[in-house]
Amino acid sequence: MKKNSRSFVAVTAAIGLVMLGVNYAPVANAAGTLTVSIGASVPLTGSLAKEGLLTKEGYQFCQTKVNAVSLFTIGGKSIKLDITYQDDTSKPDLAAQNLSKFNDKGMKLILSSYGSANVNAQAAVVELNKQTMVDSGGADDNIFNKGYTRTFNVMSPASEYASSMVKAINDLARPKPVKFAFLSADDGFSKTVTAGGIKTAKALGFTTMDPQYFPNATSDVSAALNKIKADKPDVIIGSVHFVEGVALIKQSKELGVQPQSFAETVAPPILEFASTLGPLAENVLGSSQWTSTTKGRDKYFGTAANYATEFAAAFGHEATYHNAEATAACLAMVMSIEKAKSIDADKVQAALKSLNTMSFFGTIHFDSTGQNSSKPMSVIQIQKGKIITVWPRISAQAKMIWPYAK
């Protein structure tokens, strides 16, 4: 019996070692398909679980669509995407570690986690492991000023988030506001957003107050509001995530802070923003990486409207920009594989560098730092509980409502 137990342990250990050594590198099978193994470490639990799930849905949708249409072959074999997911629990160190685990299994092509802190940690590991990563969740410019060459971001840079709303207000708001207050979370991404917004506001001749910062993910922004209340800003721009974004609107009402308009990054395009705040969400402006009226098309997803329709049918809810940016990252990877005619990470990296295409997500063209800096952002406004694109004018679904008072 003892001997049997030892044998069982030995066999189990041997199987375990073999499993650990399984190489997930490209596999061609007899049916004439080439399986492309892609690693994706996403936050499925923890503080970014919501956005992580949206990101995973975006990747899943891309995989399903690309595998279904099979539009190109390599060496006569059609491509099948096989994305392996790992939960990084919203922690940057784990997000980075997971990429090394993928690397140990021979997976050199990577789709990013969500959140600038996570992607920042991943970008360094990608460089070390000579993997190639397309980023759908980390827009902070600081990720891309470190000289990394193997991370490519399909999103507009963080500096555009607040900047685009300032441009929209300058373009559409009549009477024009004069004084802007910037309230910001204190994480790197939000600070970059704020710096970009202030720079644009000053360039357009607006008066800007000193930015006020509060801890990231806090639900109490009252101190920042009290500080700006006496100066009566015309516009409050919040460089925030969902929790701070909701707190900003709620606590402004509680404290009697009433600008002509609120504009926030990240939060308003999330579907729950309007349902959580109810009437308080009305007319709040937000910046969005993508809307269903974004201009552009591609051979896999068609237009943004096509994407929105098919995505809703597949997942039972409206596509958010988090879904779309994840799909766009996967799409960029696929297009680069097609261009490189290879699934070798170095060749895909070279193809990504020279990729210049339109898609349902708009332009995908990476600059020398790896950012998709030529892609404009859209500005949305909550109107009657719905997310409505109001800027740029060419994509607008309705006119911007201005000014409004709570």
């Binding site: 923890g46 009290n226 929790v243 509680e254 959580t276």
Partner: protein
């Protein structure tokens, strides 16, 4: 001056909310010497129950909180009676591990059942304020503050004037002696834990009415409760109230007169300073750190 008064008023109200979250945590720690790392998960579960009550039956959160409290009371009783009691005589690290495990199970279960979507209970009065001169007093925060005070006084009255309350205190002071007096310690512990969970449920309902919540926020509330309980001190049922109000005020003043990003740092600095001069917390009793446990 108006700004100072506004900031102070808001800090006090925020402190009341913190006290509400921490009072149950402090009770369990003080009586049973259990640092309940699943307390934040109870708060969030209470928020979800109240949210469901409103979604399904249109129940106002100030009524829904009693449903949350009742459900959490039952859950708390079962967990303590049939799980934590099994290892309650073990080293504190074992109870830490167990409650951490319970916390993980609750959070993941809520993730699966309710998803990680952000939620909040909407009411017609949710963002209304009373205006006293130039000072705005948010109505729901004021009610949560009053609830924290009411609960603290009610808890003291319960413990000092009822047979069950006296059993709880006796068990907290000396478990062995209490058993010799015929008190059923297992039942008393379960009742204590159940009350703590019920209070967490009520706090969760208030949180859901004031701000957004999702399963990932559980850890934040456990940490807040821990800090407030340590600051206020164990062994005094007003400890959580005192600790909560002080943290609320310090955070509010720090946010106003220093950089907003220093808020958490300043709050912990105050905690350290208080512990240097009063190691048992502001109103805590030294006895509770060195009680007899058999």
């Amino acid at each position: 001056m108006d700004t100072f008064l506004q900031v102070t008023a808001y800090g006090l109200l925020q402190g009341g909310l913190l006290a509400l979250v921490a009072v149950g945590f402090s009770l369990v720690w003080g009586i049973m010497n259990i640092v309940n790392l699943s307390h934040g998960a109870f708060v969030i579960l209470g928020a979800y129950i109240a949210w469901e009550m409103q979604s399904w039956f249109g129940l106002d959160p100030f009524l829904g909180m009693f449903v949350s409290a009742a459900v959490l009371f039952c859950i708390g009783y079962v967990i303590q009676r049939y799980l934590i009691n099994l290892i309650v005589n073990g080293p504190v690290f074992i109870t830490l591990l167990l409650t951490f495990g319970i916390n993980m199970i609750f959070i993941q279960s809520m993730n699966l059942i309710f998803t990680a979507d952000f939620r909040s209970i909407q009411t017609s009065y949710g963002s209304n304020s009373l205006k006293i001169g130039a000072i705005h007093i948010p109505v729901v925060r004021l009610l949560a503050f009053l609830l924290a005070i009411l609960i603290s006084f009610a808890l003291v009255a319960f413990v000092k004037r009822t047979r069950t309350g006296l059993s709880i205190m006796a068990t907290g002071m000396d478990r062995g002696a209490a058993r010799l007096m015929g008190i059923r310690a297992r039942h008393v512990y379960a009742i204590t834990f159940a009350i703590s969970a019920a209070l967490a449920g009520m706090a969760g309902t208030m949180i859901a009415t004031i701000e957004t919540f999702d399963p990932a926020k559980a850890g934040k509330f456990t940490l807040m409760a821990f800090v407030v309980a340590v600051l206020g001190g164990l062994g005094n049922l007003y400890g959580a109230l005192v600790g909560g109000l002080l943290i609320g005020l310090v955070e509010s003043w720090a946010g106003q007169y220093l950089s907003g990003t220093w808020v958490n740092g300043i709050a912990f600095l105050v905690l350290i300073i208080v512990l240097i001069f009063r190691p048992n917390g502001l109103v805590g009793k030294a006895f509770y750190a060195a009680r007899v446990e058999l």
